[in-house]
Each structure stands twice: as C-alpha cells, then as structure tokens.
C-alpha cells in the first residue's frame, strides 16, 4: 500500500464523517424544496436534534436511541414551520428564521445541563480485520454506523423519488400545485409531509453530529450547517442523487481545514474554518451562473423569485 493510498484513504474517511450529518439534512431539505417550500429552520431543527439526541444518548447510554430522539425532536420543531407556512400562509423565509430562533433557544435552554457530559458513542470497525483489505479496507474500517446510514439513505431516497408513484406525486406538487390539485392530488398534505420528513432528517443529522461526529454538545454547535444545506440543495440541482457528492464537497472542505490545522500549515485555524462557508457560497454562485435558477422546480421558483 502506498503512502498516497493511506493519506487519501484517511482523508476520504474524515471527509465522509464530516459530511454525514449534512447528508441527512440535505436529503430532507431537497425533498422540502422539491415540493415547493423552503425551510431555513433546518438549522434550528438540527440543533434540537443534536441536543435531544445527545441528551437521550447520555440518559439511556445508547447512541441509537440518541438518533431516534434527535429525529423526533427535529420533526416536532418542523411542524411549527408547517403550521406557519401552510395553515397561516406566512412568508417562508421569515417562518424558517423563526423556527431557527426557536430551535436555538430551546436547544440552549434544555441543553444547558448537557454541556460537559460524556456519552457512549458508536464504534468504528477498526481492528475487525478490515484494515488489511487493500484501498477500501481502511476506508470502511474508519466508518461509523451513521456514515453507513447516510450512504444508504441518500440513494434510497433518490431511488424512491424518481422511481415510485409517491415520488412522482411529490415531484408534481413541486412543479405545479395547481395542476396537482386539478389532478385530484392534495398538494398541502404533500408539502406538510415533506416538511415533517425534512424535519425528521435534519433532526437525525443533528443527532449524528452530536452523538457520533463530535461526541459533545455545545450551544449553537451546528454552526450554520443547516443553512449551508439550504444553499447546497441548489448546488445539487434539487436532485437527491447529487446529495452525496455535494455534501462531500462541504465535508471535504471541513476535513481539509482540520487537516491543515493539525499539520500546522501556518494558517490560522479560524481562517481555515471559513473554508466550508466560502466553498459552499462559491459552488452556489457557480451553479447560479450556469443555469440562472432555471433548474428549480417551478413551484419553488414562485417562492424564491417573489
């Protein structure tokens, strides 16, 4: 095995691990936007997911219960966005920010007692005999269950979205709610389902972050990952198939920042931490430059163009 393999392999593993929480969020927000809503509240949903997940893992000592609790908390908070935008027809951007504020406050309040607590996290498969398998071995061995879950969820949702009847219905609602209604479908119900599923997945992503990736809880720990996801949905061109590579872009930028930091490359850690945001904004800009928003589902364009 060459040293390049090792360096590349371990970099890929850390990129994957950084990207994992984002994959869940990105899949969820892609579905939300595909059905014609936009939810900036994913940031807050991730936070309550991270807090609830960490709390459950600390309380019951089982990281899997943490993931379940996080997903539930995220879904619960997303129902506020559903209520505000679908029942009260509030502005989607403002409603998302309200959900964010609420999630930030709630997670800070309930999470105050969790700061500094230790939890039992997931293990990797290191030492399970995989390490000697060439190329792929070290990569798989360095993964945790949430990484594998993310690697399964994204393509599974993409497959469901493009190949099944309900996926077709969701796409139709995002393109034209009026036409969907005329065809006897229920666009409001579909949008609510998408918002709740998006909430579930962003809560799961938050829990994956606190329970597995960082194994800590801190106030505001998601640091804009949810908002990055809202932008990266556009980069992934609203296509669940593109979620994995797009999330890896962010994960790669974050892993690179950490790598450079530990390598003591002479650049400040704080400057390096801006990399993921700048990378996201840059690829977002390139995407917009290329197709000028024409790739968006028509129902979403009505929201974004105002």
């Amino acid at each position: 095995m060459t040293s390049f393999d090792i360096v590349f392999g371990s970099f890929l593993v850390s990129a994957l691990r950084s990207a994992t929480p984002l994959v869940f969020v990105l899949v969820g927000e892609t579905l939300v936007q595909r059905t014609g809503s936009i939810n900036l509240g994913v940031e807050g949903q991730m936070l309550v997911g991270a807090m609830a997940g960490y709390g459950a893992a600390a309380l019951w000592g089982d990281p899997w219960l943490g993931l379940v609790a996080g997903a539930g908390a995220g879904m619960l908070l997303s129902s506020v966005h559903g209520l505000l935008t679908l029942a009260a027809r509030a502005n989607q951007f403002a409603s998302g920010l309200a959900v964010w504020m609420l999630g930030f406050g709630l997670s800070a309040y309930y999470g105050a007692g969790l700061v500094g607590r230790k939890i039992e996290g997931f293990g990797t498969w290191r030492g399970a005999g995989l390490d000697d398998v060439p190329v792929l071995g070290p990569i798989v061995a360095g993964m945790t269950p949430t990484v594998l879950l993310a690697l399964v969820v994204a393509p599974a949702v993409a497959w469901w979205f493009w190949r099944t009847r309900t996926g077709l219905v969701w796409r139709a609602v995002g393109e034209s709610p009026e036409a969907a209604r005329a065809a006897g479908l229920r666009p409001i119900r579909v949008r609510l389902q998408a918002i709740l599923l998006g909430g579930l997945l962003s809560g799961l992503g938050g829990a994956a972050l606190s329970v597995d990736h960082t194994r800590t809880w801190a106030e505001g720990m998601t640091a804009g990952r949810g908002l990055v996801a809202v932008g990266l949905v556009i980069v992934a061109r609203w296509n669940p198939w593109w979620v994995l590579p797009t999330a890896l872009l962010f994960g790669g930028a974050e892993a690179l920042a950490l790598r450079l930091q530990t390598a003591d490359a002479g650049v400040s850690a704080h400057l390096l931490l801006t990399l993921p945001y700048i990378t996201s904004l840059a690829v977002l800009t390139l995407t917009c430059l290329r197709d000028r928003g024409q790739a968006a589902p028509a129902g979403l364009r009505a929201v974004m163009d105002r």
């Binding site: 509030a90 930030f104 908002l227 932008g231 400040s268 904004l281």
Partner: protein, 348 residues
C-alpha cells in the same frame, strides 16, 4: 368610492387590531412555555418586567441592548423596501467592527479628534462592502440573497475571531483574546450618565430621516414599485439592479455603524461574539414593524428590553438566560401566525 372608504377604515383599524392580536398570541405562547418548564407564568412575566424596566439601571441596559438592534432593524428594512430578504446584518455588524477597529488601531499612538468620525465612517464602509457582496451576487448572478447573507455572516464572525486571536491580539491581555482597549477619543458620548451612548440618538434620527425619504420622495416611490412588482418596474424602465445595490449598501452601512459603535462604546475593544444575535433580533424587529422605519423605534426598544431581562432572570429566578432566546422565537412565531392568518384571504 365606497370601496375606497372601506379600505381606509380598514387601514386605520388594522394597525390597532393586529398588534393587539399578536401580543395576545405571544403572551399565550410565552405562558404555555413557562408552564411547560414548570414556572408560574404570571410570576415570570413579573420578573421579566422588573428586569427589563424595574429601575434606571435596568432601563439603561435595555437601551444599550436596543441600540444595535435598532440599527440592524433599519439595515434589514431598507433592502426589504425592494423586496430583498437580507439576513446579513449580523455579518455586516462584524465587518463594520473590523473596519472601524482597523482605523482606530492604525491611528493609535496619537488619537486626535478625527479618530471618532473616521472610525464611524470606515465602520459604515466596512458594513457596506460586506453587504455589497451579497447584493452583487443577487443582482449579477441571481444568487438568493437570504442564503448568501446567512453564509457570509459566519465568515465575518470567524474573521473577527481570527483577528482577535492573531494579528490584533493585545499581547498584554494574557489568554484573553481581544484587541487593546480603545482610547477615550474613540468613544461616542454617553447619555444620562449611563452606558447608553449617542448611537441610540443617531439610530433614532436615522430612522426618522429614512422614514421621510422612503415615504415622501420620488426615490421612495421607485422602491415601492420595484417591491410591489419588479417586472412592472422593468417595463416602466426602472433599474432594479441599481436600486437593489443602493439599498443593500445603505443597509450594510447602518449595520456596520452598529458594529463599530458597539465595539467602541460598549465593549471598549474588539472581541469575539460581540454582536450576540443583534443582527437577527434586528431582522425580527424589522419584520414586526413590517419594515416601517418609525415603528422600528419602539419595537427595537421592546425587543432590547426583552433580551436585557435575560440577565435579570438568571439572577432573580435562576432561569438560564437562554430563556429569552426562546421567548424571542415565540414572539416571532406569534407575529407570523397572526399576520399570516389575517392576510391569508389576500390573493397569494
């Protein structure tokens, strides 16, 4: 003609009914929250009032919190006049703080009377430049301004952290990451012998001026048309790009001003996390005021008082100050709920 009369009657009644309903919804939501966390809602409301406006010190602290919120609310309301949803006040705040601090540090050995005006001007310019990044991305490349402002916020905050840990760190401050203390020449005059500074008066004056400009001048009408229907504005020969850039730039300048004023007069030095969510509270206030510059004044005082009460809550009721963040979020939810509900009959 009767249609118009009904319109006017409704327009006059609405500003009264709307806030009353929203306030009622907010009180209910807050009471439910206090009940859920096991506190007596009435007692808690009493504590909040006490902590926000109980004595002259509490009032002073409320005004201190309100000052940056007022400026950041104006920074949100201006772009909203052409229909842009900018959430970038937080980042512009930091950019202004950086630029103004740079001016102060470069003039340091010999601070003269020019320091204060130069610091304020460069602070405003810093916020302006930061805001124009999102503005240019929107007008030139159709990049959604809400998303780009949210992302650049994080970058600006990290830049401040980098500066105060690195190049601008005060070597004398041991482990504490901050710049050297600003000289007295960089401070805005204090009011009523408290921490309240002239930035509050500047903010109020700017709100009044902006209100007059936006409602009385031809330019205000142009912005109204572009907000109401950009396509009709284009057909009428109005320039959306130019006007969008102007309001983004002016908005950024206001938030930048808030940033450097807070740095110089309240903190006395540049350090991390000084905005403390003022940009987002400003967004909330602008939304509560429906981007009406005069209404922003009392509403920013209200939200400033709410946030200032957090410290009091911690002290008197042993409740974490993060409760005020939840309360702030509930206030936003209540207002969106009530406004959305009242407007839902309006054609989408």
């Amino acid at each position: 003609m009767s249609g118009g009369t009904v319109d006017r009657a409704r327009a006059m009644a609405a500003p009264l009914g709307r806030p009353a309903l929203a306030a009622a919804a907010f009180v209910v939501l807050a009471a439910v929250f206090f009940a859920v966390i096991g506190r007596n809602p009435l007692a808690m409301i009493g504590v909040v009032l006490e902590a926000a406006a109980g004595d002259s010190y509490a009032i002073g602290e409320s005004l201190v919190r309100a000052t940056p919120i007022l400026l950041c609310a104006l920074a949100t309301a201006l772009p909203a006049r052409v229909g842009l949803i900018s959430v970038g006040a937080e980042g512009q705040f930091y950019a202004g703080a950086i630029a103004g601090t740079g001016t102060v540090l470069s003039m340091l050995p010999t601070p003269g009377w020019t320091m204060l005006p130069l610091m304020l001007v460069t602070g405003a310019l810093g916020g302006m430049v930061w805001s124009l990044v999102a503005g240019l991305l929107r007008t030139g490349l159709q990049v959604n301004e809400t998303i780009s402002t949210l992302l650049t916020n994080y970058v600006a905050a990290l830049l401040v952290t980098w500066l105060v840990y690195g190049p601008w760190k005060n070597p004398a401050s041991q482990g504490w990451p901050a710049t050297v203390e600003f000289p007295a020449a960089a401070r805005l005059p204090a009011l009523f012998d408290s921490r309240v500074h002239a930035g509050l008066l500047i903010g109020i004056a700017l709100a009044v001026v902006l209100h007059l400009v936006l409602t009385r001048t031809r330019w205000g009408l142009v912005l109204d048309v572009l907000r109401s229907n950009p396509r009709a504005g284009l057909v009428a020969g109005l320039d959306f790009r130019r006007n969008a850039l102007i309001v983004m730039a002016l908005g950024g300048a206001l938030a930048g001003l808030a940033g450097i004023a807070e740095t110089a007069s309240i903190q006395g030095r540049l350090q991390s996390d000084i905005a403390g969510g003022a940009g987002f509270s400003g967004f909330l206030v602008a939304w509560l005021a429906r981007n009406h510059c005069l209404r922003i004044i009392p509403l920013s005082l209200l939200v400033g008082a709410l946030l200032a009460s957090g410290d009091g809550l911690q002290m008197f009721a042993q409740v974490p100050s993060s409760v005020t963040l939840v309360i702030q979020g509930l206030l936003f939810v209540a207002v969106l709920l009530v406004n959305g509900w009242l407007d839902r009959k309006r054609p989408a």
